[in-house]
Amino acid sequence: MVMTVAIAKERWAGKCIEVTLGTGPKQVKIGGEATLPFLHFEGEIPNPPVVALEIFDQAPQEWPELLTEAYEGATGDPAAWARKCEELGADLVALRLTRTHPDGENASPEEAARVAAKVAEAVEVPLIVLGCGVEEKDAAVLPEVASALSGKNCLFGLATQENYKSVVAGCIANGHAVIASTPLDINLAKQLNILITEMNLEPNRIVIDPSIGALGYGIEYAYSIIERVRTGALMGDKMLAMPVILLVGQEVWKTKEAKITDAPEWGDHRKRAILWEVTTAVSLLHAGGHIAVVRHPESLRYVKEHIAEMMQPQKY
């Protein structure tokens, strides 16, 4: 006797918003799905999730050797480093402006803009520009950098409840998209999207950073928030329908599992650290993430392989 199984399909009222980043042939499109991650049998998934490699505007002081050696000496020169990332197959490059941090070099907005312009010149893939994370300083730096990269359709962040007005104004004036960042709180995420759209930035130029935790460090909170953002979008909530960015590298590479080299009982360090990053990224892509920002080129390769496999249509 042949048994047939009826595949249960959910009927959704809404879909995710599609966002385009960059210009030219290496432009990236994210979002646009009408279903949960990778459920090809249920709804259209026009764009695969993408993976970015993260670089700094100076040689990183606190990165483990395992990370820096992967870039073969390019970490001292941001433009060369960005080019290396592109060669390694990154869909986007995320430039973090660490030199602007007030407790460090305290580089000026103009200096940051010069570095960013050089990096943008060096690559064809879209650029993500991240500030130093001090909201006030980012409010001064990001608009200046946005102006230097005018028309390149980059993704700027982080815009928070404290500094979104300046960051968003810089993006509106120069044709960029913005990362709206909130601390693991779906209600605040929705509210910030509303505030940003009220400044007349189109919803298709917003990407949500829900804040994440690495594997073992609160990943489940991020997972459930990202999942609720996605189901909210599919149920027709337009203020939660923007794509989601996962800042994986910054969380993973501060964990002891990724950093500690002399723990033989935890197995091989290289394998463990990279797997920590891959597992964090892949888990959150399955929750509904669209851009994973990682730091190790091996992580990039593994995550992209996984995405390629998950983008195969189901056989039922």
Partner: protein
């Protein structure tokens, strides 16, 4: 909560005069105001003073004028099938028919009409014998409506069961029965039919009408009410609908929820 704006109805003096003078402005004004205030449909009713033979032409005119001013679909409200069909014929988008009773001859007119025009439809849980006294008899009629709609291939989530609300100063004993029907209609079929009430009916000829309407809306929503034909120009009422929506976890909370409810 799907709010259906009740204001474009010849029962109201300004609309009655607009119909007589074929003056589109009052109709447009209420269409825009109700749209801004969070209505999802505009109820359109010629009112009782228009002669039966004139009702189709008036309905057609009202639907056209309302849809010129608002992107919303209409809830085409009449006891005259010719008037309803005239409205459907010129309607843009997915309309709602208001309404059929559970009488077989009426269901045989209106359900095929809903199919023909791809419209949703309101089914009143009453028949020629009048409004049932209790929840049980209302549910029996609701089941008739469900069975007939299903037989015509109407998706059950396009069927809105109206349990019939009576004024609280006339039929006080009907209040709890109506709330019970709103709860139990959901058990009649899968997917469940929707529920709708003519909200303002609860307060006919009472003092404190807005207070009674608002209180009843919150109570009915707690019982699972999906839609209400209501005074959407009452800001407090819309705020209550938005707040109940949040408390019922129908929408993800954000500080601007009163605004997003109106924008949806």
């Amino acid at each position: 909560m799907i709010l259906i704006g009740e204001r474009i109805n010849g029962m109201f003096k300004d609309i009655r005069e607009a119909i007589v003078n074929r003056d589109p402005e009052p109709v447009k004004r209420h269409a825009v105001l109700q749209t801004q205030n969070g209505a999802r449909y505009l109820d359109i009713n010629t009112g009782p003073t228009v002669a039966a033979e004139d009702q189709p032409a008036v309905m057609e005119w009202l639907v056209r004028v309302a849809q010129e001013a608002s992107p919303l679909p209409c809830c085409i409200d009449s006891t005259n099938p010719d008037a309803i069909e005239a409205g459907l014929r010129v309607h843009r988008g997915k309309a709602m028919i208001n309404s059929t009773t559970a009488d077989q001859w009426k269901m045989d007119i209106y359900f095929p009409m809903a199919v023909k025009y791809g419209a949703a439809i309101i089914g009143l849980a009453m028949n020629e014998k009048g409004v049932p006294k209790d929840a049980h008899d209302r549910l029996a009629l609701a089941m008739e409506l469900v069975a007939n709609a299903d037989a015509h291939g109407i998706p059950l989530d396009d069927l809105y069961i109206d349990p019939l609300v009576l004024p609280v100063n006339v039929g006080q004993d009907h209040g709890p029965e109506v709330l019970e029907v709103i709860r139990q209609v959901k058990l009649l079929a899968t997917p469940a039919p929707k529920t709708v009430v003519g909200l303002s009916n609860i307060s006919q000829r009472c003092p404190n009408r807005p207070l009674i309407n608002r209180t009843f809306l919150a109570m009915a929503m707690a019982c699972g009410l999906d839609a209400a034909i209501a005074d959407v120009e009452d800001d407090e009422l819309v705020d209550i609908a938005a707040t109940a929506n949040i408390i019922l976890n129908k929408e993800i909370y954000c500080d601007s929820y009163l605004k997003t409810f109106r924008q949806r």
